[in-house]
């Protein structure tokens, strides 16, 4: 795996200095920037919203407590998310209703090795490897139009139903907009492994929303 860590931003240093100086506006801004993301990532590890909210609160308090020790060896963002994962880890040890953290990291996500089953002619037939049912263009461009409530719900449920590692990766990459390197770093994954998990996650979500976006012919 790459051990690439994005260099500490000048901005990070300014924010840290402001926090250490007790600048409340800086803290408030940080909350606005990351609270939603932390909440969503917490939901990857714990089952209910209120537990996730607790974990996020603990994360912010944990950040304040460790602020004097922050050395800037990772970006502020990576550091905050690492605190969240530690909080989620210890919470899930205490909370039997949540996904055991060990499971989140040891579950073999290969049990769904083929994310696109039965879409192609078997390789040993003439025309093997070609589409059985050719995909058609969806008549929807989410960049132009917001998703309908139904489709949005389908996306949400599909992400929630993913195996834990896939859920972590797609949440960080496609919801929070982390770069591949940041995700490898945060989750301790190789580049290849990160891409495999992302690929499977996206393929499953695609399948789940297809009925909502495909145009019936």
């Amino acid at each position: 795996m790459t051990s690439f860590e994005p260099p500490v931003q000048q901005d990070d240093a300014l924010v840290i200095a402001a926090l250490r100086a007790g600048n409340e506006a800086a803290f408030s801004q940080l909350i606005d920037e990351y609270n939603g993301a932390l909440q969503r990532l917490a939901m990857v590890y714990v089952t209910d919203r209120s537990t996730a909210e607790d974990v996020v609160q603990e994360t912010w308090i944990g950040l304040l407590q460790s602020l004097p020790r922050f050395e800037g060896r990772s970006s502020l963002k990576t550091w905050i998310f690492r605190i969240l994962m530690n909080c989620a880890r210890s919470r899930s040890r205490k909370d039997s209703r949540s996904i055991p953290f060990s499971a989140a990291f040891t579950t073999d996500d290969r049990d769904d090795g083929d994310p696109e089953p039965r879409r192609f002619r078997p390789g040993w037939l003439p025309g093997g490897g070609h589409w059985l049912h050719a995909p058609t263009r969806w008549q929807h461009d989410p960049e132009q139009h917001a998703l309908s409530v139904e489709t949005r719900t389908a996306v949400l449920l599909a992400v929630a139903a993913l195996p834990p590692q896939q859920r972590e990766v797609i949440t960080l990459r496609d919801i929070e907009g982390f770069g591949a390197d940041e995700v490898c770093n945060l989750l301790g994954l190789s580049d290849t492994n990160q891409r495999v998990l992302l690929h499977r996650a996206r393929a499953r979500v695609r399948r789940a929303i297809e009925p909502h976006l495909a145009v019936s012919v």
């Binding site: 920037e33 939603g36 004097p68 949005r152 496609d174 907009g177 690929h199 929303i209």
Partner: protein, 78 residues
Amino acid sequence: MRCSELVRLVTDYLEGALPAPERLRFDEHMAACGACTAHLDQMRTTISAVGQLREADIAPEARDALLRAFRDWRTQPT
């Protein structure tokens, strides 16, 4: 390149992780295959649909509690 192979490589393609010769074979296949073009388009739509789950609201009470904690922390720095 077969359609089934292309579908397996979609994420590597979008991530810019395909070696040049394979990327070329991918592009050549796409140029000739409407079904695979539609598939790639669906994957892109999927990615941006997932991105729409982004929203960042914090309950006002939670925010107040955090700002109180910050003030406490400030008056008693560790």
